[in-house]
Amino acid sequence: MSVSPPAALQTQNLVLGYQRTTIIDQLNASIPHGQVTAIIGPNGCGKSTLLAGLAKLHPAKQGQILLDGQDIARLSPREMAQALALLPQDGVAPDGMTVADLVRFGRHPHTGLLRQWSKEDQQAVVTAIATADLMAMADRPLTTLSGGQRQRAWIAMALAQSTPLLLLDEPTAALDLGHQIEVFELIRQLAAEGKTVVMVVHDLASACRYADHLIAMCAGSIIAAGAPNAVVTPELIHQLYGVHCRLIPDPISGTPIIVGVQKSQKSEGKNQKG
């Protein structure tokens, strides 16, 4: 990371929200190309809203979002889905749906009435399943898979969209440690293959370990952004979560690990804001 690479996604004075409430206020964020970006912050700070906004699920109330320099307001939902893949948290698979069934949905933005299923679509589905290392269970119902395998199947669906950009909302939520690592290693592999990944992550140590770039959010604004080693400080943790802690470097990766967390007495009011 010697030279800062060009931005794949950029927001300019972005305001997002519902009717009268503002969730994201005047936000300027930049998502670097070909890297893994983790968005961290306390519950309710607007992380998921920002991610959905980047995929144009919420229209911008003010400001704009640039995708490779182009304003996404001009793109149709279908064009957006051809440019970036979003994996939200609300995904549910109907009973009996197999891995291959699910992954085929990833070709939706590329197929339609006038453009029928082609060899190219088939190839994209096979590649996505292989990348997620699920070839052996392609025809198995999702309900028979482990949590980590199921999550990789959902990621494979997003991969089948064949987009350079991947937005993942808490891809490891509700997974145990082993399954979390399965998913994070897949994400690293995708970045190594040239994808730009943006993920909302709750666990700070994982965010530091697996992301190249961190965006720390609090109450709808960015309070720090940059390489994990540079931005994660006890002060930042206190600002975000209202807790006191110390940081020690991970003996293997060198990224910060948070220890000795204590609830700070005077910052209770601050935490409620999140």
Binding site: L86, Q89, D90, G91, V92, P94, G96, M97, T98, F105
Partner: protein
Amino acid sequence: MATTLLSRRMLIGVLAAFGLLAIVILLSLGVGSDNAIGLAQVFAVLQGAGDDQARLTVLDLRVPRTIIGVLVGVALGSAGALLQAAARNPLAEPGLLGVSAGSATAVVVSIALGASLNNLQVGVAIFGALIGCSVALGVARMSGLGDDPIRLVLAGAALSSMLAAVSSVILLTDQRTADEVRFWTIGAIAGRNLSSITSAIPVLLLGLAVALLLARPLAALALGEKVASGLGQRPKLVRTGVMISVALLVGSATAMAGPIGFVGLVVPIAARAMVGPDIRRALILAVLLGPSFVLLADVLSRIVARPTETPLGVISALIGAPILVLIVRSQRLPAL
């Protein structure tokens, strides 16, 4: 790895559904409320022979009745499949949710205001269905309700009862309307000639075309609203389309045969049991199985209380209600 929607299971399902339909059509042509005219005579008539009595029975009664049964079955089966997928609720059925009741009440009101069943405006039935459908899906989207299939049906039952009360008041106070629609309000495909349904057919076909167009986006919507949006679909547009399609389908079916319940419940469930939950497959099967269910119920309606006929809507309810109870009593409602 299965690479397309055309799986072996789908192929077998479609063939089985076609086979069943062929058998049921033969039954519908060959079975009457007495044993006077059997299949041999039906074939004779269809080849241009047969005596006058047989010709009258087959050509003027059984053939139109069978055609109407097929059309009504297609409409209600596909409307049920669509509504269940859009509401993510295996109990969402035009009859149970008040869509049919809305349509029927609109018809009763229009007749009370001076219209006649013989020149029934299919638009009135569609309008009523649209109101019923928007109330039903609106309730389904109210917070908390959408997650609980049984509460949605309760809300639909409340709407249906309210509309039935409106109809009853009109029928009790207005003798002419009551005479005109007494048999119709229970649901029947008997005694209606083909000319009376010609205006309903284009509406039905339009509704079916919209339904087939919606199958793909609806399948994506089954993965969750945000997932579907991320795949480039427009959930609001899709739901509006479902409402319009269901209204066209149920409206045309109601105009042809009156309100017939439970077709839209039983048929999609059978379809999913045969080809799985994906709406793109289930919808095709529902289109093929709907006519079989309606015709089978109609054949039963001719023979359960010989020599008189039982209204089709009664038979349909006698078959459907126990199935509804079974579904609700089963340990877990299947997630759609």
